[in-house]
């Protein structure tokens, strides 16, 4: 009997292929949208993490309090030993030290007189030690617009916009005027090695990037760093894992009254990123909910119509002596089968597309040129474990419920009534 019914499904394309295709499309879209929203959320987080917040950031308690003012006089000192300890205690993390600084960039003319000047936000990151992690985090190679990355000490990268404003080209010399850790004025000369465009508004305006060692020399910050950023090795911000890192850190470095003692701050706790995460998550969940709901309605309807279309067949089967509950059951099994096959294929296709976009990304930078928030210009999807299941809500549940409801109709109608429809 089951074989008999299966044969029927397979031969009737309206009953097999069509609903399966509808389910596949619906499920595929659901899975893809879900992954995409997760990806946007993730990219936004990662972007902030890479340039600024880290997954965690370690600073002195005092620096942390005034982080907006970049108070380098409150920077961490004895960083080498601290880093060694961190690397040993947290084998799952990657660490990088950074010095943020503010200052003026002065572009001199041929006689050494100031030709142009502008305020700069500086990043001192490791570019010359041979470890490429920071270069990768800042995506420097791909962001390079003109010139090259620094390969010698005393070379500086400027944002393209800033270099144009000061009419400075790669090869030119500029002077950085800042203040040392102790508060005295510091002046140091650099050769512009190249210009960069990050593709995110705020970073593209007045930033300069200098090798960490040069900054240390210039600002008298030997063995000091404003902040140590830490990243989970797989590069995904995972709140649970980060929670463990924080707990362990706090055990190793108990909170004290010492203003200069290191404290750890998570990505969530910085720049109201936590709110942003929650907000995006909320919007994402809502969008997915709406979508799943509408897909559910579509598939529910498809199940309903599929059932209604078959009233004549049910009439014949009833007349021949099959009973209601048996017909109803076979109808449900059928829809489960179709829902399962469709959801399975749809989820697979959705995941494949998402996987492709997770790897390669979709570049919308030209459309997002004027964005001023730190938002990614290349969209990636992110596949989470939920993506494997979410499609089954509309794909299986709705299809089956739709069929169930249409099937109730055959109970409600009198047998003879089904025949009236049949003879019509």
């Amino acid at each position: 009997m089951i074989r008999f019914l299966l044969r029927g499904i397979l031969r009737d394309k309206q009953r097999s292929l069509l609903p399966v295709v509808i389910v596949i499309i619906g499920v595929m879209l659901t899975v893809f949208l879900f992954c995409w929203l997760r990806g946007i959320l993730n990219d936004s987080i990662e972007l902030n993490a890479r340039f600024n917040a880290g997954h965690v950031k370690i600073m002195t308690a005092a620096y942390a309090k005034n982080v907006d003012q970049i108070p380098n006089d409150l920077a961490l000192i004895g960083v080498d030993t601290l880093l060694t300890k961190l690397k040993k205690e947290f084998p799952d993390m990657k660490w990088g030290q950074r010095i943020h600084f503010g200052g003026l960039i002065d572009a001199p003319d041929s006689k050494g007189e100031t030709r142009a000047q502008g305020p700069a936000v500086g990043f001192g990151i490791d570019m010359l030690s041979g470890d490429h992690s920071e270069i990768e985090r800042f995506n420097l190679e791909k962001s390079l617009r003109r010139g090259r990355l620094p390969v010698h000490s005393r070379e500086i990268l400027m944002s393209e916009e800033f270099s144009r404003k000061l009419k400075v080209n790669p090869g030119d010399t500029v002077t950085l005027i800042g203040s040392t850790m102790n508060g005295s004025m510091a002046m140091s000369n650099y050769t512009v090695s190249g210009t960069i465009v990050f593709g995110t508004g705020p970073m593209d305006q007045g930033s300069v990037i200098v090798d960490l060692k040069d900054v240390r020399n210039a600002l008298d910050m030997d063995n000091a760093a404003g902040e140590i950023v830490g990243y989970l090795k797989d590069n995904y911000y995972d709140e649970e894992k980060i929670g463990q890192v924080v707990a362990r850190f706090n055990r190793l470095f108990p909170v004290s009254n010492d203003e200069y003692a290191p404290v750890i701050i998570t990505l969530r706790q910085q720049n109201s990123l936590g709110d942003m995460i929650d907000e995006i998550k909320g919007i994402g969940a809502f969008a997915v909910f709406i979508f799943v709901l509408s897909m559910s309605l579509v598939l529910w309807n498809a199940g309903l119509l599929g059932g209604l279309r078959r009233y004549p067949e049910f009439g014949i089967r009833l007349a021949i002596g099959e009973d209601y509950s048996h017909i109803y059951k076979t109808m449900i099994y059928e829809s489960i089968l179709i829902g399962l096959i469709g959801s399975f294929i749809g989820t697979s296709i959705g995941l494949l597309i998402s996987l492709y976009m997770q790897k390669h990304g979709l570049d919308l930078s030209s459309m997002l040129k004027n964005a001023t928030i730190l938002m990614p210009a290349v969209f990636h999807t992110q596949i989470t474990s939920a993506a494997f299941f979410i499609g089954f809500i509309p794909g299986l549940l709705s299809t089956v419920i739709g069929t169930m409801l249409s099937g109730i109709g055959i109970y409600k109608r009198k047998t003879a009534q089904l025949f009236k429809e049949l003879e019509a």
Partner: protein
Amino acid sequence: MENSTLITIEALKKHFLTMSGRFTALNGIDLTIGKAEFTGVVGPSGSGKTTLLNIIGSLDSPSEGRAVVLGQSISDLNVKQAALLRRSRLGFIFQSYNLLPVYTVFENVEFPLLLLRFDDSQRRRMVMDSLEWLGLTDKAKSKPAQLSGGECQRVAIARAMVKKPEIVLADEPTANLDAANSHHILKTMVQLNKEFNTTFIFATHDDKVIGYLRRKISLIDGKVAKDEFTNN
């Protein structure tokens, strides 16, 4: 031959609720129908022929009175019991054939046997027998869409007959057929009736069918107006 009673109908009434109130389609029918009859319910359109056949076939139930079919009172059957009665002891033939379009002739005829849980080899033998009675052996693998109307109706008869039911109910079986095909299937049914003692009950106003009947029950406005045996 026509002595043991299969169907007893007493004071049967059937009302339908319609927009304009209660409509009485059958208005006090008394009948008995015996084994191996070849009987027709005839009468003008709307006289209640289909309604009566549906009740005998347990597709519908009486509003008042009794209809006892093969020892079972139709009003007392629940849906499962009614399905069992149809499945095991009744066969249906409809005006519009009502074959399942995705299945072959063989499979259409096989379907009632699947419901009765006959095993593979039994099914095959019974289906092939039935197709042979109807002269359809070479059409076993065809789909209904590839058959003529006459052939479709023969498949429907094969499907009704395959389990050798005690009663076959045929509602306007010739209405969609030309004269030649009508005579062909009627002759076949007369033969099956003789060979297996199957009771045939028709609902019809087709003179060709009436010509073959051995008993003619005339309905007018839901009442039996005449009940006559003929010399066929």
